[in-house]
Amino acid sequence: MDAQQLERIRNNESFRKLVAARSRLGWQLAAVVICLYFTFILVIAFAPHLLGIPLFNGAVTTIGIPIGIFIIVIAFATTGLYVGRANSEFDGLVRKVLEETE
């Protein structure tokens, strides 16, 4: 990549779109996972009994179980969401950037 190509890419509309879209999605999803996890940890630190509430009347299963499983599922689901968007959208934008700035 020479200086001219670098300059062309930096000023390319598709490149800007790619960078903006990828950063937005990445940071949004990271924020979701980080907030979810630290909320969970802080509930455990300050109000652990909240997770011990029975799931339904007379149940031994507590709401902590589905909440824990939910966090595991969300961690996986957000990676799936990111990969899906990246495969369908970002890779296409990368190809476009390369074509437009050859």
């Binding site: 630290f38 299963t61 996986f76 990111y82 990969v83 990246a86």
Partner: protein, 558 residues
């Protein structure tokens, strides 16, 4: 019922007896005394089958491992799915299998808290690290950290961070391996350690990344299959009803329904947050994990790797949770698995192993024991390869030879480094048999989060990062992490025997990661040298490559 002798992660945070050490469940060290079991023939036969298969793979891989790219990254020819399995194989250790199921067996819900902590680092790796890392790097994460900065300084520092992380992790693994194998197979501790070290040297020296990857893939498949079988067998017993499983377990367990809620493992918010930071960002700073992203062809395969890895690891942790409860149901009230005091034979870490016997008889017990051994081999091989790469690629080729080096000389150095690391690991493994090594994996994670991650992260995201800032800030993170662990409860009190810890928290990450970021920022801002200006300008080209992959180190052709 005893608490697990296995050192626990969120543990430090609380109501665990003080004799218990605290460190991440990945810690992988089985600490404490073990009673040697009678020679387990089925387990040994199945383990020999595994070893024969992996040696055959190593032979096959050795024929392909002719170039440096083959040695370090399997030529970049691993698919996203294969790499996802290999990452899972690298990450799911024997202690997270035996330790977390043992923790669930003893305290129920708390085991799930640990599992979640280990999983949440993965999405973060995907969103901010994986693609950029693949687009910028070639063999090691130091390639990326030093991309536009001073090669000598940053590579030396990154290699120090890598070697410190790998060494601490490796010692913990070797000691855990020796004790576990002594327990499962009835082999003497020293022989077990030498066996693990020798096999790991053979895999990595001859087969490089190709053999290491396939050992990790096979192990992941075996571990996931064995754990799935056990979890299904448990659920079959309760008519596939979780409510029935939990109700019956709570009825047997001495703590009753208290096992269905957090048991006070986390009590102090500073430690809780500090541990969360160490797990989340430490995972993104582990050299053997980061190295796996260079084994795939491009950013697309890199991101798919994380997707599959997160799925497999999450599934595995759900299985360990079911297995722990299954052990309460099927093991804790069966006299065959208890000693005269009513404790589990071999300690609570053996909950999953006894459950294997309870659900599948002695043949399945042999299978699970062999899987546990295979698990250790896969993890130590990945660690050794990462350490050898730091020595040969970062220190030898880039620092001592200034990047001008014959490829074959570099491979030779990496093979010698592998053998050297293997011998050191065996020696230290034997030396540390009776030592308290519980702090080691916690420290490894702290160093990864405080020295490796901040430099890597800012190198990719912050234009203003300079060599001076990265070097000083990275060292600040490293030194702070080590100092705070030494002055904290795990070393100052538990090992050195002082009454009061000078630093009150078991996990330093909140402070050491902050110190590293501050140090990097301050010393980068103060850097007004001509070189720092050039480094800032070079960020643009690096940024474009990190986004588009132009100029990416490509897979070698065959």
């Amino acid at each position: 019922m005893r608490y697990p002798t296995f050192p626990c992660l969120l543990a430090g945070l609380a109501a665990v007896p003080s004799s218990l050490t605290t460190l991440p469940a990945m810690a992988d060290a089985i600490t404490g005394e073990v009673e040697r079991q009678p020679l387990n023939v089925a387990a040994i036969v199945m383990f020999l089958v595994f070893v024969a298969a992996t040696l055959w793979i190593t032979y096959w891989a050795a024929k392909r491992t002719k170039s440096a790219a083959q040695f370090y990254t399997a030529g970049g020819g691993i698919t996203g799915f294969q790499n996802g399995l290999a990452i899972a194989g690298d990450f799911m250790s024997a202690a997270s299998f035996l330790g977390i199921s043992g923790l669930v067996y003893v305290s129920g819900y708390d085991g799930l808290i640990y599992s979640i902590g280990f999983l949440v680092g993965w999405p973060v790796i995907l969103f901010i690290v994986a693609e950029r890392l693949r687009n910028l790097g070639k063999y090691t994460f130091a390639d990326v950290a030093s991309y536009r900065l001073g090669q000598t300084e940053i590579r030396s520092m990154a290699a120090c961070g890598s070697l410190a992380t790998v060494a601490l992790y490796l010692i913990a693994q070797m000691v855990g391996a020796g004790k576990l194998i002594e327990l499962l197979f009835g082999l003497p501790y020293e022989i077990a350690v030498v066996l693990v070290g020798a096999l790991m040297i053979i895999y990595v020296t001859f087969g490089g990344m190709t053999a290491t990857t396939w050992v990790q893939i096979i192990k992941a498949v075996l571990l996931l299959s064995g754990a799935s079988f056990m979890a299904l067998a448990v659920l079959y017993q309760t008519g596939f009803s979780f409510e029935a499983l939990f109700r019956e377990a709570a009825a047997i367990h001495p703590h009753g329904t208290a096992i269905m809620a957090p048991g006070g493992l986390v009590s102090d918010p500073v430690s809780a947050i500090s541990l969360g930071i160490a797990l989340m960002f430490g995972t993104a700073g582990l050299p053997h994990i980061l190295m796996r992203f260079f084994t795939v062809a491009d950013a697309k395969e890199a991101r798919k790797s994380v997707f599959y890895a997160t799925g497999f690891i999450g599934y595995f942790y759900i299985l360990t949770f079911i297995i722990g409860f299954g052990a309460i149901l099927l093991v804790s009230n069966n006299p065959a698995f208890l000693d005269t005091a009513g404790d589990l034979i071999g300690g609570t870490n053996m909950a999953a192993v006894h459950l294997a016997q309870a659900t599948g008889g002695s043949l399945f017990l042999g299978f699970i024991s062999a899987v546990a051994f295979a698990t250790i081999l896969a993890v130590v091989s990945g660690l050794t390869l990462a350490g050898a790469s730091a020595i040969s690629h970062d220190l030898y080729a880039s620092v001592f030879k200034g990047g001008v080096v014959d490829e074959f000389a570099e491979i030779r150095v990496s093979r010698l480094a592998t053998i050297g690391l293997g011998i050191v690991a065996i020696g230290l493994g034997i030396l540390f048999e009776k030592q308290n090594i519980a702090f080691m994996v916690g420290l490894a994670f702290a160093i990864a989060a405080s020295a490796n991650f901040p430099v890597l992260f800012l190198a990719m995201f912050w234009r203003g990062l300079t060599t001076q800032g990265a070097l000083i800030g990275g060292l600040v993170g490293l030194i702070t992490a080590v100092t705070l662990v030494v002055l904290g409860p795990t070393v100052w009190v538990a090992i050195l025997g002082f009454q009061e810890a000078i630093f009150p928290y078991k996990y330093p990450a909140l402070f050491s990661v902050t110190a590293a970021f501050l140090g990097i920022w301050v010393f980068s801002m103060l850097d007004r040298s001509a070189r720092s200006q050039a480094e800032k300008i070079a960020f643009e080209a690096q940024f474009v490559r990190s986004q588009t992959g132009i100029g990416i180190a490509t897979a070698t052709q065959h």
